[in-house]
Assembly symmetry: C2
Homo-oligomer: 307 residues x 2
């Protein structure tokens, strides 16, 4: 039995990443309805809006969904308590040490997966008692580790050291990539950029089209001498940040103008190398159905190879 399906309660082990402002009920409910695991973000820091979005989910779908808690950015434990009271069953934690809240969440019957970009982080999270890991390769978009370790290497390293369910993230868009990470030991995939560019994604078409138009070399890792380290699309703004070598958080201040106003120079457009593999804006259900078809046929094909 696939442990990620057991833990999420969703039909398929396909998880939608918790992109700030984007991972809200419109997108997440579409993912749930298509058999995946929709996740509501709280990293935007818009506490009241995020709570409303969580409540909205029960109206939009009767399928299970999850919430992401970015530990370093939580102002207090109100969002943790809210998840417990709202009957949320699945939480991903990220950006910080899961120790503080894993007990409270698990006591409330919530399954907790922690997002890690490194073997050391994986071991720490397992020691803290999380149920599983979201393993993020350097290929992915958004907040990154300074150590740019490829997804396959990272999964295999964690599998050599721990027996814990792994959701793989970074550079994944289809069933071929899904089968690949399953071969390495993952039991689920998480996708961000693929869902950002889906039909049901709330972002401006300029952002979706820029993802479609970008090649696999269309992103870069920025701000390596400071924090946060991010992967974003190459634009005039990000090229400029790259030249300067440093960025402060204020660069992210106008991200809503990019996401919803379509001004691609308003902030760094967080995106993974997967942008180079995405060639079309598709409905979420089509994305997930195609992935499952590709995954199944790839596994059958591999099952017939023996040397």
């Amino acid at each position: 039995m696939n442990r990620v399906i057991q833990d999420t309660g969703s039909k398929y082990p396909i998880i939608q990443a918790p992109m700030g402002w984007i991972a809200r009920s419109q997108l997440a409910s579409a993912v749930c309805e298509a058999g995946g695991m929709g996740i509501i973000e709280t990293s935007s820091g818009e506490v009241d809006n995020c709570k409303k979005e969580i409540q909205l989910m029960s109206e939009l779908t009767d399928k299970p969904f999850g919430v992401n808690l970015p530990l370093l950015f939580l102002q207090d434990d109100s969002m943790v308590k809210f998840c417990v009271d709202a009957g949320v069953k699945f939480v991903t934690t990220s950006a910080g040490d899961p120790t503080k809240y894993v007990g409270i969440l698990k006591d409330a019957g919530i399954t907790v997966y922690h997002a890690v970009p490194s073997l050391a982080g994986a071991i720490k999270a397992a020691d803290a008692g999380v149920d599983g890991l979201v393993v993020e390769g350097t290929e992915g978009g958004g907040f990154k580790s300074l150590e740019e370790v490829g997804l396959l290497v990272l999964i295999q390293s964690i599998k050599q050291n721990l027996d814990i369910p792994i959701i793989a993230a970074g550079g994944l868009v289809d069933g071929f990539g899904m089968a690949a990470v399953f071969a390495a030991g993952a039991e689920g995939i998480q996708m961000g950029t693929r869902f950002v560019s889906s039909k049901e994604s709330p972002v401006h078409n300029n952002f979706k089209n820029k993802i479609i138009d970008s090649g696999i070399d269309g992103t870069m890792v920025l701000n390596k001498k400071s924090k946060p380290v991010i992967r974003a699309l190459k634009t005039d703004l990000t090229n400029d940040i790259n030249e300067k070598g440093i960025m402060d958080m204020s660069a992210m201040m106008n991200i809503k103008e990019l996401y919803f106003g379509g001004d691609m120079e308003a902030a760094p457009a967080l995106s993974g190398q997967s942008s180079g593999l995405i060639n079309e804006i598709k409905p979420v259900k089509q994305i997930i159905d195609e992935i499952i078809d590709e995954f199944n046929s790839t596994c059958i094909k591999l099952g017939n190879i023996q040397f």
Copy 2:
């Protein structure tokens, strides 16, 4: 039928990378005898020694072997002619435009695979008429592309655009990784660091042990503002080069003192992220047998998963 096996004539689609000075008859013949494809390097520029090594191969093994031709570093076409006259059947070209020699090589009945780190390079090589590609993800050691694209993303991008046999390289050490890249569309794997740290590798034990001791974050990409861009183990020397931000080729001058004298600070120790997955010095035959066992069992396991 697996096209890489067809093209190499070896029992398994497992190719040994052409590391300068290291990829010589001692290591390459062990790979051939174990059912893989051993490759003799010519990137050291030691023309006479490399010719002798190619001749030695026929004495050490009756299995097929290959030669690597790093196009930019060939002083003239004597090595190309030598391969033709010596009856070499398989050549990998790298570091440059394959157009110049692909005709001569193919007219002589030699199969040519060209090593590429990018989609653009892959399309160019296919247009030039090569038979296949060695696709090198950023995870691998040695000479790298400035664009640090992960292996899975790179393979999938090339598969979206070309139908040509792919040997995947970068971060691969075992049958799980091999099954993973086969899922993404590859038909063979090439390994460098794994064979550098094998029992039959001619390098000093200090280098092998440093690979064993390194984690997946034990390497870095150096010299991004100049050429060549390389991935090497973290040492005092490479940390220093990284600080300075720039390196010239003279840094590589004393590489033989590292490889064969065991002085890990004599030059950058070229190595991939796979160093973090390698935990033991093993004989080549054991490495290849274990890979095939792991690959076969992983494929059977995947063949039984259907969603």
